[in-house]
């Protein structure tokens, strides 16, 4: 073999990507890929894919792409979780080795946070925020597509790591010195840093987009205090993104420069200081947990009034508490490393600031309960997730307060108590919220409801599975089991609890399968939503047909009340029954563009080249990025005109306009 080929083989396929599990997964991926290619070619769908999806700037389609990615990543992260749990049920004869275990919990955590929760949130933001505020799109549609493609190619780069080169293995937090080159020479951590940098640029742009969308794109009459709570949560989340992602970017960049170009930020010699990374990371990391949970709060604030048939209780305090949480989120980051010895004064400050957050959160919980109080509650799947969320999140919050009690944290820190705590809030809060939102807005996105009976099965499996998995982990933590251990000796009394926990994880896995079946089934057989308002909704998105036409609103209504659509229905004046032919005029919509896709691709090439220090490839990628940016600058094609006759035709066909 020529030396070059040997080098290539050895770099791309080191021993740790040639284990049976990895190769098995590779074969599956390859087979799926080939099947998709064949089907697409047979059906002549490539052109459709390109013009309708890959180059789209329509927020509704971008939402669908985010959602598909999020569910795929939930699958990958879930498989990782099952591997983790299987190993821990079988101490003494672990299925995967210590090094593989390191990779698996790293990819599990990273994928769940950055490539599952974040795109799921952006899917729902994109799907409904413009509709809720009475707008034809987000503030910057092309930038929105760029965000998506940066995310997608970042995710691709990250997921590639287990096929070629080797997975990152230093935890989702990637603390130095574990990530420094001397201790971790393979390309794995490069994959981590570069993919998060690329996806992070996309996320930052999404943050900018939704701040400006909610500030500048609202229908006339919709003042800030008439904005639906989900829009408030999008505004707060996006603001958090603007302030949280830059420190992460800096921390990732410094680590990357340390690794690739030999600087001395976090090294042990040369005055480097790993604690600097830990501070920067959590300066991002704590706001990040609110970035993923505030949208869930927003979703519940829409779901609860609709299914209780009452307006939201205490709207003003809801807004106030979301803003309070947003501000407090920046003052708590040290609680992630009380044990690193910052001293009693510093620790006490951060312990107190952490506990303070419980107040606005409690306010929200009570407001949801008071909204339900005396309401006519319908237990749809969306509402069930809310009902399960309240007790689950309260337990998670309470264990969080226990962790913030500094002397006790010296005991809990990095034990399974912590693992149980953060899953309690991440699953009970974020994931339940997102699933609730998915069931709630699915008809608006796809024109059909998700089957409720199957949805309830999935729900009960998730909920019981959740408690069976994570209940025992609190006890394991109290018994001294620490996180990130791939196996343990028998005789500590950990075995039974771990077996129970693993069983629970498989129950959740079953829940996921039912969920996927539910989706596939409902795509064809779900109940059609012909009215556009299947739940008797209160906010503007329900004023539109399902799915909304490309231009969303043939005419944008003036808003008077907080529950704008409810108000219209009460007055008997909805868009569906009041629009006349004369109201419809020509419209302008943003034009499709292939540049976002190519920008994402170019960044991917940059990332790929840098992972292996192949500078020519990285240079080509940079040239591609530059070319895309210049092309963006010189793109003076105006908006696309949609003429009134077409809109009239569409609205008549939808039964919303008399011909």
């Amino acid at each position: 073999m020529p030396p070059f080929a040997r080098y290539l083989l050895h770099t791309l396929f080191p021993p740790d990507v040639l284990r049976p599990t990895e190769v098995g997964a590779d074969v599956l991926i390859l087979a799926t890929g080939v099947i998709i290619m064949v089907v697409m070619t047979r059906r002549h769908k490539w052109r459709h894919l390109w013009t309708e999806w890959l180059t789209t700037v329509d927020h509704k389609k971008i939402a669908v792409m985010y959602l598909i990615a999020a569910i795929a990543m939930l699958f990958r992260g879930g498989v990782d979780a099952l591997m983790i749990r299987t190993n821990l049920a079988l101490p003494g004869s672990p299925v995967i080795s210590a090094s593989e275990y390191n990779a698996v919990f790293t990819t599990h955590g990273t994928i769940m946070i950055f490539f599952m929760a974040m795109p799921f949130i952006f899917a729902l933001f994109n799907a409904v925020i413009p509709l809720m505020i009475g707008s034809r799109d987000v503030a910057f549609p092309r930038l929105n597509a760029m965000s998506f493609w940066l995310f997608a190619f970042g995710a691709l780069l990250f997921n590639m790591s287990f096929v070629i080169g080797g997975s990152p293995n230093a935890g989702w937090t990637a603390y130095p010195p574990l990530t420094e080159r001397v201790f971790n020479p393979g390309p794995g951590e490069n994959f981590y840093f570069l993919s998060l940098l690329i996806a992070g640029i996309g996320t930052t742009m999404t943050g900018i987009n939704f701040v400006v969308t909610s500030l500048r794109m609202r229908a006339p009459g919709m003042t800030l205090m008439k904005m639906p709570m989900f829009v408030w949560s999008a505004l707060a989340t996006s603001t958090l993104i603007l302030f949280a992602f830059p420190p992460l970017t800096v921390a990732l960049l410094m680590s990357l420069i340390d690794r690739l170009f030999g600087s001395s930020f976090f090294t042990l010699g040369h005055g480097g200081m790993p604690m600097m990374y830990v501070n920067l990371f959590w300066l991002f990391g704590h706001p990040e947990v609110y970035i993923v949970v505030l949208p869930a709060f927003g979703i519940f604030s829409e779901v609860v009034p609709t299914f209780s048939r009452k307006r939201l209780f205490g709207y003003e305090t809801m807004v106030l508490s979301i803003v309070a949480i947003m501000l407090l989120a920046y003052g708590t980051w040290v609680h992630h490393f009380f044990t690193m010895g910052a001293g009693p004064t510093v620790n006490a400050f951060f312990g107190l600031s952490t506990m303070l957050i419980a107040i606005p959160t409690g306010v929200k919980i009570f407001n949801w309960i008071f909204t339900m109080w005396g309401g006519r509650i319908r237990t749809t799947v969306a509402m069930l997730y809310q009902l399960a969320f309240i007790p689950t999140f309260v337990v998670g919050g309470a264990s969080g307060i226990m962790l913030a009690t500094i002397p006790a944290d010296y005991q809990f820190h990095n034990s399974y108590f912590l693992v149980a705590h953060f899953h309690n809030v991440l699953i009970g809060g974020t994931l339940f919220g997102l699933l609730s939102g998915m069931y709630y807005w699915w008809p608006k996105m796809f024109g059909r409801k998700l089957d409720e009976r199957q949805g309830k099965w999935a729900f009960w499996l998730f909920l019981t599975g959740f408690w069976i998995t994570f209940g025992p982990q609190y006890l394991l933590g109290l018994k001294g089991m620490t996180r990130r251990m791939y196996t343990y000796p028998l005789g500590y009394g950990w075995h039974t609890l771990n077996v129970i926990s693993t069983l629970g994880a498989f129950v959740m896995g079953a829940g996921f399968l039912v969920l996927v079946y539910n989706i596939v089934y409902s795509m064809r057989n779900g109940e059609r939503d012909l009215t556009g308002d299947p739940w008797d909704g209160r906010t503007l998105e329900w004023a539109l047909p399902s799915p909304a036409p490309e231009y969303n609103f043939a005419r944008i209504p003036v808003v008077y009340e907080r529950d704008a659509y409810w108000d219209m229905k009460e007055k008997g004046q909805t868009l569906a029954n009041s629009l006349t032919v004369r109201d419809v005029h020509d419209l302008e919509l943003p034009r499709n563009s292939s540049l976002p896709f190519f920008l994402g691709l170019s960044f991917f090439v940059v990332g790929f080249g840098m992972v292996f220090s192949w500078w020519i490839i990285a240079g080509l990628g940079f040239a591609g990025v530059a070319a895309c940016l210049v092309a963006v600058g010189f793109d003076y094609r105006g908006p696309k005109r949609v003429d009134a006759a077409f809109i009239r035709g569409t609205e008549v066909a939808l039964g919303r306009l008399r011909a």
């Binding site: 005055g271 600097m276 004046q573 003076y636």
Partner: protein, 207 residues
């Protein structure tokens, strides 16, 4: 009473050119938000620098390393360029594309001179063996000041493409908005440099 519908947006002739079109003015809001994130990037870098400043290991510290001369000259160049870009925007408000071009080119020339001096400065330090491998202090210095320099360089390239667009299309709401955001960016870099000059060079020489 019937359902009230919002009017479709029109041109606002009473506002400056870059704000007259609703969509273009939304982009200016967006650019401010981008600047927020950039402030945070520099804030993170500054705080890292402040922590790392005493951590010189075996390498030189700020006192031995820095020379006032080049830093002062760089400051002068950049402050002047902020003034010239201000005049360019003034010319834009007066509707004189020629003046805009001329003052933007002056800005670019000053910016380019700044970048040239900075590269020269870095090279002279590196020639003394003061690379970022040497110490955490040097790593923080190069990355903080270098990030600013990279921003300036990017700004220069950006403005070159703007000049081409301006030459081709004249002053329109779109080109006006782009120039305006460029001037925001440039002023912002100037402000950051004032902090760099103070924190890195001045305080480095005094301490």
């Amino acid at each position: 009473m019937s359902l009230e519908l919002a009017p479709e947006p029109g041109r606002r002739e009473d506002l400056p050119l870059e704000l007259s079109d609703e969509q273009e003015s939304v982009k200016i809001t967006g650019f401010w938000m981008f600047l927020v994130t950039d402030v945070l990037i520099f804030a993170s870098l500054f705080s890292a620098y402040a922590v790392y400043r005493p951590r010189v290991a075996t390498g030189p510290g700020p006192l031995e390393l820095f020379h006032f001369g080049p830093a002062l000259l760089e400051t002068l160049l950049l402050l002047t360029s902020s003034f010239t870009v201000g005049i360019a925007i003034y010319e834009m408000r007066k509707g004189r594309p020629g003046g805009v071009m001329a003052w933007t080119i002056a800005t670019l020339a000053l910016g380019a001179a700044f970048v040239f001096l900075e590269i020269h400065e870095f090279a002279s330090y590196a020639a003394l063996g003061a690379t970022w491998h040497q110490s955490a202090f040097l790593s923080a210095f190069y990355v903080l000041v270098g990030t600013h320099g990279a921003h300036v360089s990017f700004g220069i390239l950006w403005a070159v493409t703007l000049l081409v667009q301006l030459a081709r299309r004249g002053l329109t709401p779109v080109t006006a908005r782009k120039l305006y955001t460029f001037s925001l960016y440039w002023h912002f870099l100037d402000v950051v440099w004032v902090f760099i000059f103070t924190v890195v060079y001045l305080m480095g020489k005094i301490a």
